[in-house]
């Protein structure tokens, strides 16, 4: 990992109604150095997302209240939150669900039962991308470079 890159603390939300699985993901995230907030239903998730910004959302689809597709769509349509990465983790394994997930803007789609190791790899990768983006926006040298050469 590039040591020059400034690391920003990442905020991750875990939206999963099954408490055991929510706990499983949160535990692994904190073991990997992320702070995770657990949310157990769609309303709660929507409510939180309307007030706060998260870097990554781990999102189940079949949720009480509002389903994961709707939440993902509203995240991606919200100009304040569209940079939030959405990782869908669902028991819905039909290809049409994956396609639909893609359509509503999910960045990644994992089907249950999922590999915890793989989920962590994905989250690490996404956080690196987020760090690089942050770098571009904060480094004066990079800003100058962009101004001179264009995007």
């Amino acid at each position: 990992m590039d040591t020059n890159i400034i690391k920003k603390e990442k905020r991750i939300m875990v939206v999963e109604d099954d408490r055991n699985i929510n706990k499983l993901i949160s535990y692994n995230l904190s073991r990997n150095g992320f702070t995770a907030e657990s949310v157990y239903d769609g309303f709660q998730a929507q409510d939180k997302l309307s007030r706060e910004t998260f870097d990554i959302v781990v999102l189940d689809i079949m949720l009480p209240g509002i389903d994961g597709f709707h939440i993902c769509k509203s995240i991606k349509e919200n100009p304040a939150a569209f940079k939030t990465f959405v990782v869908m983790v669902s028991a819905r394994a039909e290809s049409q669900d994956k396609i639909y997930g893609n359509l509503v803007g999910a960045d990644c789609y994992l089907t249950k039962p999922f590999s915890v190791t793989k989920l962590m790899d994905i989250i690490r990768e996404l956080s690196v991308i987020r760090d690089r983006e942050y770098q571009v926006h904060t480094d004066p040298l990079m800003q100058k470079h962009i101004r001179e050469k264009g995007n």
Partner: protein, 594 residues
């Protein structure tokens, strides 16, 4: 103008009678005249012969001085006619109608044709106008004399006498003809009425037939053509009645089929005008007006249907199938099959049949949802088991504080999974009818008590009082003991799970009609009205998280429902949120006890 047959017949008959009578009349009259003339002529001639003889006798007696004037007067007055005696030289010697003075003045008669003829051949006849008496006269003259003619005796009769006679005859004949005519008029009227009455009756019956009334029969009078006609008419009436009845019954059958069909049917002609639309379709599309003769688009306002008819009638599609969505009055999915009506390779119209596949689609959806649910329900505990095992293997084993907790979770979820699999298997066995039911006569009290012992410990943990509320003796029921226990345990388990500590759960039982009704009431959290109708659905949970926590699979009540139904009973629930719920079910009594 319509003229009744019998009037026409009367008229024709009268014409014939008049023609016949008048030709007879004219024939008679013309012959009568000549007959009368001949008769008079003969008469006069005979009288003339007698007159001649008389004159000759007189001549013989008084040879020298013969007063012809007296003689003529005598003969004339005796015979009632005009007698004239003319000398051989043509001089008029005596005349009935003339005085002596007149006689002197009268011209010589030698030139008269009848005199000439009489002198020549003995007898002369002439008809001409007499200037003496100013009349048409018939003259008959005969010469008299022994060896040679000495004079001529002439009788004359005015022809007007004949005319008078003739007029008399005319009157007699005329009156009788008019009499006959009147008589025949009456007769022909009667005859024509007699002929035309059965015909007019038949025409009336034919009119009734045309109007659909086949009850009238044509009267059969006499053995003639009219009778044959009447019989044919009656036969025809029978046949038409039969045919119409057959046709009507066919139509009624078709109508019955179309109107009792659940499917909607629409038939159009080749110009896309509606010929027929059955009640089902009218209901589906809320058609209140008469659709016949209109275009489908006007009546059912669905472009897809109109397009289908277009395609079919243009021959682009022989069998068109389409699924259409109707939103009014309620959402329905219809599968429309359309075929053309072909006669001799010509398009005569189109038939469209509408199948309501809403229920089919709904069931398909339920099935799909069930599969998705099962998949979800299985994947969730497996994810948990797999994830925690993975986490432990990845190093969490060293995290002593959490490791035991994780293993506990793995155990719980494995338990949940196995419970889920058991429930699913049960459910599929009951639903597919493969579950073997060992239905025997049972004492319900012992079954209820046994179920309570199973659940007793669970109740004690939460300090929930288990109460029994029924008569010590209950009639036997017909049930599978294991399955009935399962129903009771499921209901009691739910009641305890959703009842707070220190609450109570009551089992009551009572005989209603031919079944035993068992109620399981609790003082728990209750179920909201929104959730009540769906509570028996598979995987329907009022509170998913709580259900999981309590180890529910979401199938318990579904299993209860299926088992009760398999016994021939019913299950229902009443609930008051915050106060508690009562689940009730019935199980048929055994024949002995009922």
């Amino acid at each position: 103008m319509k003229i009744k047959l019998h009037w026409r017949l009367t008229f024709i008959f009268c014409l014939v009678v008049i023609l016949a009578l008048s030709s007879g009349y004219f024939y008679l009259i013309s012959h009568l005249k000549s007959y009368i003339e001949r008769n008079i002529e003969n008469n006069i001639r005979n009288q003339l012969v007698l007159g001649k003889d008389f004159v000759e006798t007189q001549l013989k007696d008084k040879k020298a001085s013969m007063d012809f004037q007296v003689l003529a007067s005598r003969i004339g007055s005796d015979l009632g006619l005009r007698a004239t005696i003319i000398g051989i030289d043509g001089k008029v010697l005596g005349d009935t109608d003339l005085t002596d003075e007149q006689l002197v003045k009268i011209e010589n008669h030698a030139g008269r044709p009848e005199i000439k003829e009489a002198l020549k051949s003995g007898l002369g006849i002439s008809k001409r106008f007499s200037y003496t008496v100013n009349k048409d006269m018939l003259y008959i003259a005969a010469a008299f004399g022994k060896e040679k003619p000495e004079g001529v005796l002439r009788f004359s009769v005015p022809l007007s006498d004949i005319d008078i006679l003739q007029a008399g005859m005319h009157r007699v004949v005329g009156v009788s003809i008019i009499g006959i005519l009147l008589l025949s008029l009456v007769l022909t009227f009667l005859v024509s009425l007699f002929v035309s009455r059965p015909l007019s009756e038949m025409s009336m019956i034919a009119k009734f037939m045309a109007a659909g009334d086949f009850s009238k029969k044509a009267p059969v009078y006499y053995a003639d053509e009219i009778r044959e006609l009447a019989q044919s008419l009656n036969l025809m009436s029978e046949e038409i009645k039969d045919k119409i009845e057959k046709l009507n019954s066919e139509r009624a059958k078709l109508d019955l089929v179309l109107s009792s069909m659940f499917e909607g049917v629409i038939v159009t002609d080749e110009n896309e005008n509606i010929i027929l639309m059955n009640p089902s379709l009218r209901r589906i599309f809320l058609v209140e007006s008469e659709p016949e003769g209109k275009k489908p688009i006007e009546v059912i306002r669905n472009t897809a249907v109109q397009d289908m008819i277009d395609r079919i009638l243009k021959g682009k599609q022989h069998l068109a199938t389409e699924e259409i969505l109707v939103t009014m009055p309620e959402e329905r999915i219809l599968r429309v099959n359309g075929v053309p009506i072909l006669r001799n390779d010509k398009f005569e119209g189109a038939i469209l049949v509408f199948h309501d596949i809403t229920e089919l689609r709904r069931l398909e959806q339920i099935r799909q949802d069930f599969v998705a649910n099962v998949s979800h329900e299985l994947r969730t505990p497996i994810s948990s088991i797999k994830g925690y095992a993975e986490t432990l293997l990845e190093g969490a084993l060293k995290d002593k504080h959490n490791a035991k907790d994780f293993i506990n979770i793995i155990y719980q979820d494995a338990e949940r999974l196995s419970q889920l699999i058991n429930d699913l298997l049960d459910l599929s066995r009951i639903e597919s009818g493969k579950m073997k039911m060992n239905v025997v006569e049972l004492d319900p009290v012992s079954v209820i008590k046994r179920a309570m012992t199973v659940i007793d410990n669970q109740a004690k943990v939460k300090s929930i009082a288990l109460k029994l509320d029924f008569a010590p003796e209950l009639p036997d029921i017909k049930a599978d003991e294991t399955r009935l226990s399962q129903v009771l345990i499921n209901l009691l388990d739910n009641a305890i799970k959703y009842t707070p500590e220190n609450g109570s759960v009551t089992i009551s039982a009572a005989v209603s009609a031919d079944a035993l009704q068992i109620d399981v009431s609790d003082t728990g959290i209750g179920i909201s009205d929104k959730d009540l109708p769906r509570i028996f659905e598979r995987f329907y949970r009022v509170d998913k998280a709580r259900s999981r926590e309590l180890g529910g699979t979401g199938l318990g009540l579904s299993i209860v429902k299926h088992i009760v139904q398999a016994h021939g009973g019913q299950v229902w629930v009443k609930s008051e949120p915050g106060l508690g719920s009562t689940f009730s079910f019935t199980i048929p009594l055994s024949i002995k006890s009922s």
